[in-house]
Symmetry: C2
Subunit: 414 residues, 2 copies
């Protein structure tokens, strides 16, 4: 019954996942629902931005030549011949000492080549006077100064953020091409699990992995369907996995992947004819994480231990989903930081430690009790320390690698 | 018509916003809908975790005393008297050379005080032999080793992340106390704005601020209602603001806040008897940002220029919303980084520059064309460089402060 497993390096395991992950088909979504998707097309400027020479200030459009020689002792007078708000176009053409009152964002009228800010003028009955000269083009936002028609503004694979939505809105997009979101089935296995509404009888624990993974997926805007395992035998679990595969792109199981008599997962991968990419990784926690591929569907067999489950999701599942969504970059940033307490355990395998990173001071420490079955440390973490396999303990002050998993706020501004 | 405005420091402006922001009332939400809220109660352990001594491995539970003297030359034999999976409790009590086959997560049976990993055993007909001795407590996850009943696990004001959800699930929470989300009205003003479905006639531009701000709020799980300004006169805008205030906790206007003839906002604040906290901030862009308070409702008058609008939201609106949600920490992290190109403009006021931060190498540079009306730079940014007022240009290699606005992925793992 004790299945032989060949251990592989964690980087190699991640690479295998990424290689086998298949991009989802493209679709169009409405702009207001596009947040969190990735662009499936390059965004090319369909017109210059700005589309026309415009005023960046409230003031007067003038001919710069008419301001020549203006000074405190020699105020130059202008006559205001029109008054335009943003969105309006003046039909007047300026002569030498004429000006058009203009609002921020309004198009520069014909004949004008500079804008005088309102604060720089002294009002007169007919218009205003000013005491400095202006150069041609001064205080004008030139047509195309930000980008020109035909420029590639954003490339395919870019995450759609609010800023990207602003760009798309600017270029009149109402829909945008993206890759469909994969649908995910969640199967929490383990006879020790009591559902949230069931009594916690001796030996039982709550299913915390299911809600946690659902939350991690919801953060990626991905909805999940949870399957309930009600009987603890092979045929039942197999039928649930088959059901899940018939409806979803990804099937995540948690638990039941340890090296034990009651682990049905290896036999299930065999029964459904999935290719197991790996079933043992040189990492702690989560060494028995399994990833398998069935046609273009992927199966993640994550540990039942919360910290191992969480780490497996961050390391393997999240990058795969990003690849499926068409992301250009799929890996969380990994930076160096200074360990702010001793970590004395040896690391036969690469070790991932849920950690609190102080990103401002670049110091990091484990987020409390940190065994494979720990759960509180996940909640307190914003990162994972990565300690390479084959190393002994690390000391306060040592430099370590840290994978950032989330941005945490601070109590004071800068 | 030219309203006199008193300029205040940006930090002071932020502080005023935070002081006046009022926490929303508390409510209960279902655990699976709690993501992105903040805890409105401390989470106290209602039982020890683990709840019972359990096995962290698949193996055999034994009495450590029975393993004394075991070695390669002196293998000690054990008889397996029971077989328990996780979630089950053995009703047997172990005698000296007896063992119970045990799965990961299963409770340690009575009489046992150590767990032998399966890999450390050689099977026999009756059970197994082993060749090393074990100490009392070896390979046992002790009851309460992660936390004890009564411990404060997480404090009020903590963001509910997937890890927090895992903790709540562990402690049998099905609902959790949070503060209600504020509802937000969005009013994009400006006669230059053409809605997404309207023709882009000369002088007009698209409304990009509305969709951008809606996206920024959606990232905080906050739904918005957009109001359409169809007529360009005071009474119309006033009635829209009044309508919005009758339904929403926060009213955000974009545009119409410049120093000009057509800016109705100051008169509107007066008409609705709102207290204006400030209407000019010593910052670029967005110096004419206005924040006002009407009872416990807040009004944000953001610039119509996209980069100024975005910065105003990040600096003022976002922390206010976090405070309303009950967050312990409301400010984005600000760290130091090395400028990787020259920035030659002087900074009469504190300057915020939408920027690309390489968090791994701690270098930062402006995200392209960066005037107040720029939009593409917002999309390309993951941060804002903060240059203090009263400084001259900065050079490549200078250390600058950077506010992190989002975590961006990278193309390679570590």
């Amino acid at each position: 019954m004790l299945e032989k497993r060949t251990v592989i390096d964690v980087q190699e395991a991640i690479n295998r996942c990424i290689i086998y992950a298949t991009e989802m088909p493209t679709t169009e979504v409405e702009l207001e629902k596009s947040l969190g998707y990735y662009l499936a097309e390059d965004i090319i400027a369909s017109y210059d931005i700005p589309m026309f020479d415009k005023s960046p200030y409230d003031g007067y459009a003038v001919r710069s030549a008419a301001t020549a020689g203006a000074s405190g002792d020699n105020r130059v007078a202008f006559k205001s011949i029109d008054h335009i708000g943003a969105g309006s176009v003046s039909d007047k053409t300026l002569s030498h000492n004429e000006a058009v009152r203009i609002m921020t964002g309004a198009p520069i009228p014909s004949g004008a080549d500079a804008v005088v800010m309102l604060e720089q003028t002294v009002a007169t009955e007919e218009g205003f006077t000013l005491r400095k000269s202006f150069t041609s083009g001064e205080n004008i936002s030139k047509q195309g100064e930000e980008c020109k028609k035909g420029d590639v503004i954003l490339t395919s694979g870019t995450l759609i953020t609010p800023g990207v939505i602003a760009v798309l809105a600017t270029f009149s997009y109402q829909q945008v091409a993206v890759r469909k979101r994969p649908s995910v089935a969640l199967i929490a296995t383990g006879s020790e699990l009591a559902e949230a509404d069931a009594e916690l009888t001796p030996g039982k624990i709550r299913n915390s992995n299911g809600p946690m993974i659902a939350g991690l997926l919801n953060e990626m805007h991905i909805q999940t369907e949870s399957y309930r395992v009600t009987e603890d035998h092979f045929e039942h679990l197999l039928s649930i996995v088959q059901q899940a595969l018939s409806k979803h792109d990804i099937v995540i199981t948690t638990g039941g992947v340890s090296v034990g008599d009651f682990d049905f997962m290896p036999a299930i991968y065999k029964a459904i004819e999935a290719d197991v990419l790996f079933n043992k990784v040189a990492m702690r926690p989560g060494s028995v994480t399994t990833v398998a591929v069935k046609d273009e569907q992927m199966l993640f067999g994550l540990s039942g231990n919360p910290s191992a489950c969480y780490s497996g999701f961050e390391l393997f599942t999240k990058p795969v989903i990003k690849k499926m969504l068409g992301a250009k970059h799929v890996h969380a940033p990994v930076m160096e930081a200074e360990l702010s307490e001793d970590f004395t355990k040896a690391n036969p395998f690469t070790r991932f430690i849920r950690a609190e990173l102080d990103i401002v001071n670049r110091t990091v420490r484990p987020a409390g009790f940190n065994k494979s079955n720990a759960v509180v440390a996940i909640a307190k973490s914003n990162s994972m320390i990565i300690l390479p396999g084959g190393t002994r303990g690390f000391q306060n002050g040592d430099t370590v690698k840290v994978m950032l998993t989330r941005l945490t706020d601070q109590g004071q501004s800068w």
